[in-house]
Symmetry: C2
Subunit: 284 residues, 2 copies
């Protein structure tokens, strides 16, 4: 496994792989890897011949009040995990390599970014689009794998690639969960034992929604209300949002009628950890 710190080295290594006829797979991460990330690597390997994992905690997607400085980092552990799953190249640049000066370019996306997490994290998706543009232009992957856990990010990236004609195929990877249902996240490390125990209500609430819909409930507000009540049983939980939206455009759905896919998404604070989770259901 190779490791690069600069853009120039990264391009040289990847150009070499491409010259050998290899297809490039890409998994962008902020490091502190868990099994969810490693599944992204497995999927990338299944679709390419040379897998690049970037490890970069991107400052432009954090607001000043968020956890950029405290975001967990453990490079040596990440390196071992990447190697164990057959990664070909880790690209782990310093902030100054990616942002030698402040970008004058801003990328914005209408309609998809002002809801759900975007509403609570102003500028977050602009920062994501900026760094993904840069990383795509540095790595020039054939395929890139993003986790379904960040459902809004996935929808935004897909539309971004379509709108700007990036020559990259985006693959969605299913959310990986702990045995009790909690979605894996680098931020789970922030949870106290008590919060960790209570955090299972998130997946339970999503499962409750699924059960209700399967039983015929079609009123989104009623489903959300039951989810809120269930999550309220966890004393440490503070709901940021629970929303039911259309998968394709992230616009709210009031009645789950017609044939379509809905995204049931939530963000809930446990102490300083803001956890997100979601499920996608096909209504028919």
């Amino acid at each position: 496994m190779l490791l690069t710190r600069t853009i120039a080295e990264t391009r040289a290594v990847i150009a070499d792989a491409r010259t050998q006829g290899k297809r490039i797979g890409f998994v962008p991460t902020m490091g502190y890897l868990h099994e969810g990330h490693l599944k992204l690597i497995d999927i990338a390997k299944g679709h390419s011949d040379f897998v690049v994992v970037s490890i970069f905690v991107n400052p432009t997607q954090f607001s000043p009040t968020e956890d950029f400085a405290k975001y967990p980092r453990d490079f040596e552990r990440d390196r071992r995990l990447c190697e164990s799953r057959g990664t070909d190249l880790i690209f782990a640049p310093e902030v100054s390599e990616i942002y030698p000066e402040r970008s004058l370019i801003t990328l914005q996306i209408e309609k998809l970014a002002d809801r759900l997490c975007g509403m609570r994290r102003p500028g977050h998706f602009n920062g994501v689009l900026l760094v993904v543009s840069k990383l795509f232009n540095i790595v020039q992957p054939n395929v890139a794998v993003f986790g379904q856990k960040d459902a809004q990010q996935l929808t935004i990236i897909k539309r971004f690639v379509q709108d700007l004609n990036f020559p990259v195929r985006i693959i969605a990877a299913p959310t990986v969960r702990e045995s009790d249902g909690l979605a894996m996240s680098s931020r789970n490390i922030y949870l106290s034992p008590e919060q960790r125990a209570q955090s299972t209500v998130l997946y339970q609430a999503l499962q409750r929604a699924k059960t209700l819909i399967e039983a015929g409930q079609r009123d989104a507000q009623k489903i959300v209300l039951e989810m809120q009540q269930l999550i309220a049983t966890a004393s440490e939980a503070k709901i940021d949002y629970i929303e039911i939206v259309s998968v394709s455009d992230l616009q709210p759905v009031k009645r789950l009628d017609g044939e379509r896919q809905v995204l049931i998404a939530l963000a809930v604070y446990f102490g300083r950890a803001r956890l997100i989770d979601n499920i996608v259901l096909k209504i028919s």
Copy 2:
């Protein structure tokens, strides 16, 4: 010479050239080609093995009051001219191929776009950045050639490539002029014989500025005043702007002191033709 109309064909043709080890040169145009464009093609040929010329009048860089519908077009002439200069591929898509739906993504650039032409053409450079992103992602050129005549566009594109790490080298091509000094432009076709005769004042005003600076004049306002007076001798001329700015960041220069490069840029209406021109001078 090949001609493609779709993104898929274009990618296939260029992938084939790249497989043969060819470096890709790119000249994005809005068609109605003149000798200035053809010089861009010559330069692209000098830096690559396979030259792609795009011909696409990009609607997103025109405001509703501008000349998108009336912008001059003559595809058969453009095709002959491209062929005569050894173009390998013309990519001439329909609007619906490039914009199957409205882009939700907006690209903006701070500081460089709100002056000069950007001040008079709100949204213009957002449209340029959008189409250039798309074209770069479709063509994936090694080098792209842009004319110095659109000096602000050139500065913006260079910074855009730098900020987003596009793997493209930008080459600037000198302005090509008619024998009487008028900068070549597709919009010169709009000029009446009388306006065409008077339009030589633009280059004369730029030359006057050069002479003044060479003679030691360092007060930008005084230089601009003399340029205004010279242009005012043309009865059909209506000055949009005359500005002296730093080449690197397009910020206004009041005194031409120190060692630096200044851009003297102007935009002047003759009837419905809005003509731009500029010179770059090294102050020492």
